[in-house]
């Protein structure tokens, strides 16, 4: 069990830039605008910020963002590693800093030109010089170069073991498309979608076809985290971080843990879920809605199992019974997710989870959302956060 920082940090502001396929501006520009939007949302000024967290992969340094934004002294700055696994890890670090008093108000941000700049779909390049180059070397000669190829390998085995079919993958994609159709900020806003269109798309890496894969987008998202005391005086009602956790499990690799004895699973997320539930005192039955990291359709299913909304292999039936839909057991990715709104590495998902708790999602479920789950990318070290209305 990890330390308990339940409700010791509160999300008081959220911000997105517009999402597009060609921002025409720098990633720093996107980062700064997303951060400013989060500050405006909270009614705070850059001078109030004394901490920042972003992704290791982000190209906009904290001090560059600080200079552009006009932030003064920062007493805490940190980065979270492992691609989309860093999404809620930013909250994790911000909450730890706020809970311990190392900082009072921390900006979490992520901004990327994921479509007009470097595209993940183009694969890991031959000139990687990072420390994990040796690791990638066990895959690149065989052609396993892209996230879709790694996730395809996991998905094929998981479907074999569970008997879950493409019907379930389609339902995950279809649910996000239907939500996105109603979200003006989403790439697929106003567009219809059906099984025939899904089936007609090109194969990317079996069994994943085009619409099993997320968008590639330009844009930025930011979330502002502060103390419960300060949050009470601000413009928006606070959204407390009830539980937050991350985990890198045994024999973990980045997206390629193929050397585990059984690799069709995400034990790191199971551990993070246990810790987040324990910290918050909540269980799956208390969660009213969720934003589940959806770089690919299949990974949503595994996470539903890891967070105990259903048992191993039962997520197919769970989603096909309509659970993800507006009136379902667990409305999921109500903004359209990364499959259908935009791919901002999961931080647009934190923004949506905050909206769900505030009651301001464009697809707000009819029921009261007391608690929402938001998760990070899987296949890598990962985690999640449980959010609720501040008391």
């Amino acid at each position: 069990m990890v330390a308990n920082i339940k409700d010791k940090a509160v999300i008081c502001g959220i911000g997105n830039t517009e999402f597009s396929k060609n921002s025409g501006v720098s990633e720093l520009n996107l980062a700064v605008r997303a951060c400013k939007a989060a500050l405006d949302d909270a009614g705070l000024s850059p001078a109030d910020v004394d901490g920042m967290v972003t992704f290791t992969m982000d190209t906009s340094d904290e001090i560059e963002v600080a200079r552009a934004l006009g932030v003064g002294e920062m007493t805490f700055y940190g980065r979270a590693h492992y691609g989309g696994g860093a999404a809620t890890a930013t909250l994790h670090q911000a909450a730890m800093a706020v809970a311990t008093g190392m900082a009072e108000t921390v900006l979490c941000y992520r901004a990327l030109n994921g479509r007009s700049g470097h595209r993940f779909s183009s694969g890991v390049s031959g000139t990687i010089t990072t420390a994990d180059a040796i690791h990638w070397g066990w895959y690149t000669p065989y052609g396993l170069l892209t996230p879709a190829s790694w996730v395809g390998m996991f998905t094929q085995r998981w479907m074999h073991l569970t008997g879950v079919t493409k019907d379930a993958l389609y339902e995950v994609a279809k649910a996000t498309r239907d939500y996105a159709a109603n979200n003006p900020a989403a790439f697929f806003h106003g567009q219809t979608f059906d099984r025939a269109e899904y089936d007609a798309q090109r194969m990317i890496s079996t069994p994943l076809q085009l619409f099993d894969c997320c968008q590639e987008s330009d844009g930025g998202s930011a979330v502002l985290v502060t103390t419960p005391e300060r949050a009470r005086d601000l413009r928006q009602s606070g959204v407390a971080i009830r539980g937050v956790a991350q985990c890198a499990a045994r024999d973990q690799e980045q997206m390629t843990s193929f050397y585990r004895q059984e690799f069709a699973g995400i034990p790191e997320m199971e551990r993070a879920a246990r810790d987040a539930y324990a910290m918050s005192g909540l269980g799956p039955e208390d969660i009213d809605a969720a934003v589940i990291y959806d770089a690919f359709s299949s990974i949503v299913l595994w996470q539903l199992e890891a967070w105990d909304f259903c048992g191993f292999g039962e997520s197919g039936d769970f989603v096909q019974d309509g659970a993800l839909r507006p009136g379902g057991r667990l409305p999921v990715n109500t903004h359209g997710g990364q499959l259908s709104e935009a791919y901002i590495h999961g931080v647009n998902g934190i923004v949506e989870a905050v909206r769900l708790v505030r009651g301001t999602s464009v697809n707000q479920p009819a029921k009261t959302v007391e608690h929402a789950l938001v998760t990070s990318g899987v296949g890598i070290p990962t985690g999640g956060a449980l959010l609720g209305k501040q008391d």
């Binding site: 396929k21 060609n22 479509r115 007009s116 779909s121 183009s122 694969g123 390049s125 031959g126 990687i128 180059a133 040796i134 690791h135 990638w136 070397g137 066990w138 895959y139 690149t140 000669p141 065989y142 052609g143 396993l144 170069l145 892209t146 879709a148 190829s149 395809g152 390998m153 996991f154 998905t155 094929q156 085995r157 074999h160 090109r202 194969m203 990317i204 890496s205 079996t206 069994p207 390629t256 193929f258 050397y259 585990r260 690799f263 069709a264």
Partner: protein, 329 residues
């Protein structure tokens, strides 16, 4: 280009939609044996429908036909284009407008011909062409640009439609970096066949790849507790010993999963290409390509047999084939 400039440019640009590139014009030559034979020889097309009068007379058509793919050729301007350049028309004006505004890059992206009627010797192809549509501004892999599409209609001497051709062209702003990076010109005269992206070799893994180059797949073994481990790493996770040796794998195994790669295409990789995870008989997993079978013939749990093989000029890799005695329980 700021928003206002872009608006002004697009106002000029979209006026080109619907403009005629050329009015209906007869080809200089009627469909004839000589030009068809020239085409058939160079393309290596032995189809007797184009060149064998005797066969054609007995065929369902009862006559020689022009190769459909030649439809556009009959009206090509030919050598004067080299000597005098192309006469100005709506398309050259459109291209000039793009060029003046920085969209100097050009790339033909799609061409679609539809054929409604076959034509025979002595018939004469007539061509007319319009600028059919221009896209909104797009961010493409080449750069920011616009697609425009010309529509050519081909008719015979009676005015009956023979076919159409839609040609889609991207005009884009070439990234400056690309020009700078290749020194502004193409001096590379020799083309190299691309190879697989090799694993970088360091202290902890070079011995494995060197053995692979020699045709062997080794498995690292802890000298203290005998635990096998792959991929190689410096310390045994069971007993923390730094002392290790290796054994050679028999490359017999069971297929734990596989995925067939279709997209994106990366130079050096013949797609579709199947990757699999194999549980070797020694007990460790190995990622490698599965060859010698279609994806439909593979099943998780199936027995496979590996061999280290040369896959391109520079690369030796283990590859696995379905084992002869089928699926394991």
């Amino acid at each position: 280009m700021n928003d206002e400039q872009q608006q002004a440019f697009e106002q000029c640009l979209y006026r080109f939609v619907g403009r005629q590139v050329c009015a209906r014009t007869a080809a200089k030559d009627a469909v004839n044996e000589a030009m068809i034979r020239h085409w058939a020889e160079t393309v290596g097309d032995a189809n007797p429908a184009y060149t064998d009068a005797q066969w054609a007379a007995r065929s369902a058509r009862g006559r020689i036909i022009a190769p459909p793919a030649m439809m556009y050729s009959w009206n090509q301007e030919g050598f004067p284009v080299v000597a005098q350049g192309r006469a100005p028309d709506a398309q050259t004006e459109l291209v000039d407008l793009f060029n003046e505004n920085g969209f100097t890059g050009v790339l033909g992206t799609n061409v679609k011909q539809e054929y409604y009627k076959e034509i025979g010797l002595g018939e004469r192809v007539h061509l007319e062409m319009v600028i059919d549509n221009i896209s909104e501004q797009k961010a493409t892999a080449r750069g920011i640009g616009y697609f425009f599409e010309t529509l050519a209609s081909f008719s015979d001497q009676h005015g009956d439609l023979i076919g159409t051709q839609r040609f889609r062209v991207l005009k884009f702003i070439p990234p400056e970096t690309a020009a700078a990076a290749d020194g502004g010109g193409a001096e590379q005269d020799t083309l190299q066949t691309p190879t697989r992206i090799a694993a970088p070799r360091g202290h902890d893994n070079s011995w494995w790849w060197e053995a692979c180059d020699q045709g062997q797949v080794l498995i690292q073994r802890c000298r203290n507790c005998q635990t096998l481990r792959h991929p190689p790493r410096p310390m045994c996770g069971e007993c923390q010993s730094l002392d290790w040796d290796s054994i050679e794998s028999c490359l017999e195994g069971e297929l734990l999963s596989f995925t067939e790669l279709h997209h994106p295409r990366i130079p050096g990789y013949p797609l579709p290409l199947i990757c699999g995870v194999i549980r070797l008989r020694e007990g460790v997993n190995l990622v490698a390509n599965i060859v010698g079978a279609e994806e439909q013939a593979l099943a998780i749990g199936m027995r496979v047999q590996g061999k280290v093989e040369q896959v391109d000029e520079k690369t030796m890799l283990p590859q696995f084939y379905p084992a002869e005695n089928g699926v394991e329980k």
